[in-house]
Subunit: 423 residues, 2 copies
Amino acid sequence: MKIEILCTGDEVLTGKITNTNFSYMAQKLEDVGLSVYWGTTVGDDREALLSAFHLASARADAVIVNGGLGPTVDDLSQEIAAGAAGVGLVLDEEWLARMEHFFTSRGRTMPPNNKKQAMLPEGAEFIDNPIGTACGFALDIGKARFFFTPGVPRELFRMLEQQIIPRLLDRAGAPGMIKLKRFHCYGLGESHIDQILEGVEDLAPDGSVKLGFRAHYPQIEIKLTTRGSDADDIETKLAPVQAEVKRRIANFIIAEDDQTLEGVVLAALTKEGGTLAVAETFTAGIIASRLVSHQSGRHIMRRGVTTRDREELYRATGLTGFPHQDAYDADIAAAAAENLAREAGASHALAVLIDVDEGPDRRDLGGLIQIAIASPTGTVTRTTRILGGWEWIRLGAVELAMDCLRRHLHGLPVHERTDFEKR
Amino acid sequence: MKIEILCTGDEVLTGKITNTNFSYMAQKLEDVGLSVYWGTTVGDDREALLSAFHLASARADAVIVNGGLGPTVDDLSQEIAAGAAGVGLVLDEEWLARMEHFFTSRGRTMPPNNKKQAMLPEGAEFIDNPIGTACGFALDIGKARFFFTPGVPRELFRMLEQQIIPRLLDRAGAPGMIKLKRFHCYGLGESHIDQILEGVEDLAPDGSVKLGFRAHYPQIEIKLTTRGSDADDIETKLAPVQAEVKRRIANFIIAEDDQTLEGVVLAALTKEGGTLAVAETFTAGIIASRLVSHQSGRHIMRRGVTTRDREELYRATGLTGFPHQDAYDADIAAAAAENLAREAGASHALAVLIDVDEGPDRRDLGGLIQIAIASPTGTVTRTTRILGGWEWIRLGAVELAMDCLRRHLHGLPVHERTDFEKR
């Protein structure tokens, strides 16, 4: 089935906003085994819209149109859709009543403009939007089925997942159900993971499990998309593949599905009634930021300290008695972590001290990274070097340090070599 | 002139990467007074590419094709371009030699695959890429001029600005030069700024200055695009408009052109030989992060402390003797800032203490914000409330606090009311 995504609106066309709706939709479709064949972007322009609808109707089987369902004069999707299909617009009384209730329940009167949002092309299939005033609809134009969706991301996301994808799968004649299993990994590069996982798909009976990746440095996501007749069938097909992925990737799996690394670390701390303090030098406080902004980090994250000044790092972590030297070392990191834990009254502390190579930013610039974790069972340290310029070092060090903490809390080896380190 | 942007590649089409190249190009074109009429996205697929090239050549005057110039088999742009133009591919000996040098100068041998990158459609105009192995080229297909650009963002950005935009302006017959003047504002909403600036464009002699906005909460960018015959002409036309924008927006202008709020704050501190420490509660260390990761923040930012725990905030800022109360107030914020400045040996300190309403995140959730700035000239405080849910409060408080610091350092009123506060 050929699917086209047609994004409308001057804000997207002029680059005022980045089109994240497109990548979101394309990914969600890929996740259920569908794929996008063509993408079109046009502005709030009658001629361009009509032409785009006609072109899409001729080359695609299904078209998802995004945007243009609002109450203002430049929202043209219903009007142009009706024109392209050769039908008129009719008032959907039920949606009008729903909109009026939407406003009155918030103590407001519906502006007359909004009535426009209840005008749908004759014969269109209504598609519900339980969280906004722009309802969706579906309509045949030429040989293609068009699905019209709101531009507001949270309204689109919900409508796509709950209403449009099931309809697309139906039309594609896809058998039964689809499940996406995700593993988030840190420490192995994409081509390395690809090589390690060679052949795992063959463990599923009939090619029903598809392996995919998504890299966003320094994490890689492993995706297993399974097709089956029902939940049991999917479990049967997925189980051997999933088990083998876990066996091969092992300690490099940091989280699964909707979990995050920070969530996993905080959950492990919660389990043992622990609390945490963090001292960071070059990483701009990103570790503390990720942990403290997480819901469960509120009481576990006792203190985050960030500085790039060596002397100030010594003061903030009670190292003033320590001899000054040109570079951080494991002993300094260990003492910083131990002092900080004591001072902040935390059971655990993480110190991440980085000496970045001198000179302007460049691709082969490196950083020496000292990580120390103080905990009730003692202090562990890890020394490493990452190459790749400021941003690469910063992001790499953040992930490595948080992963060391995860490994320590889970009783896994903290020193396992990653693909991102140079020795 | 009708311009189309044609993005190619499976990674973009499948949503593996978000298409920021598109919004970047569209914006850059808008900034010089050009605009995009149509956007197309197709994968690494011969049939789709050829069809996309033909469609674009029929509806556009100029087409920017992005991606598909790499050395691998799925990079098809040169081949399909030649096919669409009905010409063959010829080896560009000069580019081949440049590529070979590119590799040998890095101590490597050029892989044979890369030769493909020097194969250009017959009659194509060569477009230089001084920082990569994918050269650009231009070619007529049908009635349109096609410009082929690399997918690697930094290579694309440079080629677009230095090579493609001048050629497009030439073709558009645009008179002379274009200049973009930008003001970054904080504290006024977009519609409010729009209203304040009503009529400023009329101060330019002949409609040669165009006013535009770009909102990324909580900042708004005011853009003045001026067309003129040369630099002097542009200055003459822009000057009265620019002066009037400055007069009307006044203290709400936080930075101009490539400046950032953090850069402006750090420059003001540098000027008076000052240093800074920051204590944050709900903002997840974002203020410290923005300042410490800035080049000039390295030595000025002495210490950033972040926590969400009230007791720990008291400890980390030496407030242990302070009476405990249910909410932060201006006195607590002032004492926290003063203590922190002393403890971190900084001339200035900023404390941002936030009490967020209880309950789950929702759109009408608010936060009470206490800001204090300790400095050699004394301590100032500001109390306010922002509504809009966790993320909105967090981002709003970060900008407000940094702006208060900017105002204090520049001798401007710290208490000027913003549009984002509820009282």
